[in-house]
Amino acid sequence: MKFLAMLATAFSLLYLVVVVHALSFSSEKKVEEIDALALHVKDTKIALSFPTNAYQRFVYAP
């Protein structure tokens, strides 16, 4: 029982840290920044250096 109690306490502490991190992450600021940029440039795409395989094939990297 002592071992189970210790295990439960350890996991509670670990998950407490996870929950605190999740709550402290300011996703609102990030959403505001993305919204501000998306208002100017409406058709947004994920930022990849090679948007398609065709572009990647164009570059003859060694």
Binding site: L14, E33, K42, S49
Partner: protein, 370 residues
Amino acid sequence: MLRKNFVEYAILLLFKDRNDHLFSFLIFSFIVFILSSVLFISDSLQYDLIQSIKAQPSIVVENTRAGRAYPMHEGYVYDIAQMAGVSSVEGVVDGYHYFAQKRLWFHVIGDAHLAKDEMLIGQGVQKAMAELYYEDEFHFLTEERLINVKIDKIAPKGTNIISNDAIYLNPNTARAVLGMEMDEYAKLYVTVPNPNEVGQVALKIVEIYPSAKATTQADAIGAVRHVYYYKGGIFMILYVIALVSFFILLKNQVGLVYGEKKKEIAILRSLGFCIKDIIALKLIQNSVVSVSAYLLGVALAYVYVFVFNAPYLRNIFLGSELENSISLTSVVDFNLLFLIFLFGVIPFLAFVILPAWKIAISDMSEAVKS
């Protein structure tokens, strides 16, 4: 009802055979960790991208010729603006500039809010340029001339998912960089005020211009989901393969161990333990192992993805050519975590308890004699 002493005895036995259980614990934690990490990254990227698509106009029109992107002229704008249900059509400049020194493609996007000689760049572009000492000014090398533009604005880090490879320029400067004429557009933004008419207008556009592609907001969201379901799906298949291999391994190991433990089970039976007790004993031990491994795997995946921003693994989704220091938004899908629990922990217990039950119901007198 389980008695305290019984549970303590089960834990004591767990410690006695700790080496056997440690193996299952570590492998199961690792499998849960990998799958949870991939799902966390996929969900987080999807969330940010869908957030940015929400500002997208009703329809985005792009043109093709011989399967390649091809610019549109004023005639397209006029024709689409005449359609019933369309309130406005805006032509935009968009394309890719090849940065030969670093063998990268920069996404050049026209933004009317910027002056002719200024540009806003993503953080990945800034780093790539700075490596070649373009710190205050960048020289766009085009077929005709060299175009100098001041680097005076950097996009905030939060927007890296969409701005990392992007250069925002005044539309006229962007045209000069991309070699487009003044009346040419790479894309048209079509605004349809009534959401019920969007699909109909998109069909009409494709009817008039069969080589054009009309993407509605719903299509764009669907495309993002499709890409991430596909990438997540590949991992799901790998996960299933890994999990099945693990269970086969576990079954073999358990079979072997329980073969050796036959005498122990027989002694317990002769002491008065019934089959139900033997199964309960094994259930307690393996529940502790599997649930702990699951909880540890998920927590480590959270820390790896949202605290350390998933080094290495995020390159599968974002590519590694242009350094992308995005901060992943913490998005946790509890339904998926529950699904992993259901398809991970439950089969784990089944694979361990079934051999124990088989041994417990066999003839004990022979086992005790041996």
